[in-house]
């Protein structure tokens, strides 16, 4: 697959494309925490999206701006709000979610979302932790203690 790391330039392009097309979204997963200053690493960019035909069309326009190669076979699951779509043919690895374990729905999560210095909207750290706990994968269990500790640092509960 031709994709590579999600670079600083990619972040600028992603923020610009999503803003230009008025896409409703939240970056979720450990990437959200990293964009808030979590000193960890992740591999892919995960977007949480509302179930909305208008928003799906806007997202497709944004992805085309970013030169993701989208064929009809790719468009249907996005338009039909498949709960999980994995895109690996574009400039960076991107996962699309129309549902998340651990949060009730997009609108509620968006109300708690955070606009990061990179001008990308992300899931709140509380919700990142809730989704990791609910997903229950081995890699989530490994990340949770550090994410919870980072939250305590951000809240000033321990020296930061």
């Amino acid at each position: 697959m031709p994709h590579g790391n999600f670079t600083l330039a990619d972040a600028h392009h992603l923020a610009a494309a999503l803003h230009a097309e008025k896409v409703e979204y939240l970056i979720v997963g450990q990437g959200a925490a990293i964009l808030m200053g979590f000193p960890g690493t992740t591999q892919d960019v995960d977007l949480f999206l509302p179930i909305s035909r208008d928003n799906a069309e806007a997202l497709i326009r944004a992805l085309r701006r970013l030169e993701f190669p989208l064929e009809p076979v790719h468009l249907v699951p996005i338009l039909m709000a498949s709960e999980m779509v994995i895109l690996r043919g574009g400039p960076f690895a991107l996962d699309l979610f129309h549902a998340l374990d651990g949060v009730e729905d997009f609108e509620a999560a968006k109300a708690r979302g955070v606009l990061t210095p990179s001008q990308l909207w992300v899931l709140s750290l509380d919700d990142v932790i809730a989704t990791k706990a609910a997903a229950g994968r081995a890699k989530d269990h490994a990340a949770l203690p550090l994410l919870e500790s980072f939250r305590r640092h951000l809240r000033g509960e321990i020296g930061f």
Binding site: F6, I34, T42, E83, I86, G89, K139, H141, S149
Partner: protein, 115 residues
């Protein structure tokens, strides 16, 4: 600063070189041996959080997103799952254990899962 001779020998560094690098390298934090031993893991993690806070948001991205090809997950340019449950089930069955995508409650893996 003295360091165990056998440790230096194992890494092929003489004491003089070690002292020089410790004093001149910008990447070496100025801990004494006793200070380093006194650091607890929480203290080291707090220091990492403080260091990251002092770096630019751009460097958070540059250093934080590090893609490595994941066998199974990244082998196809496109995959879609109607439900998260379908996706989780596929991860449990199709991905190697070491990627960490398997749900903990399904541990240990089934006999059919890819290794």
């Amino acid at each position: 600063m003295k360091i165990d001779a056998d440790l230096l020998e194992r890494f092929g560094i003489d004491q003089e070189t070690f002292d020089h690098l410790r004093k001149t390298s910008p990447h070496v934090r100025a801990y004494t041996r006793e200070e380093y031993r006194s650091l607890d893991p929480d203290g080291l993690w707090a220091q990492q959080c403080r260091d990251q806070r002092d770096r630019s948001p751009g460097s958070w991205i540059t250093n934080g997103f590090c893609h490595v090809h994941k066998p199974g997950l990244d082998d196809e340019p496109f995959r879609a799952f109607s439900t998260l449950a379908d996706y989780r089930e596929w991860c449990d069955e199709a991905l190697p254990d070491y990627l960490g995508f398997r749900r903990v409650e399904t541990w240990p893996p089934t006999a059919n899962a890819a290794r």
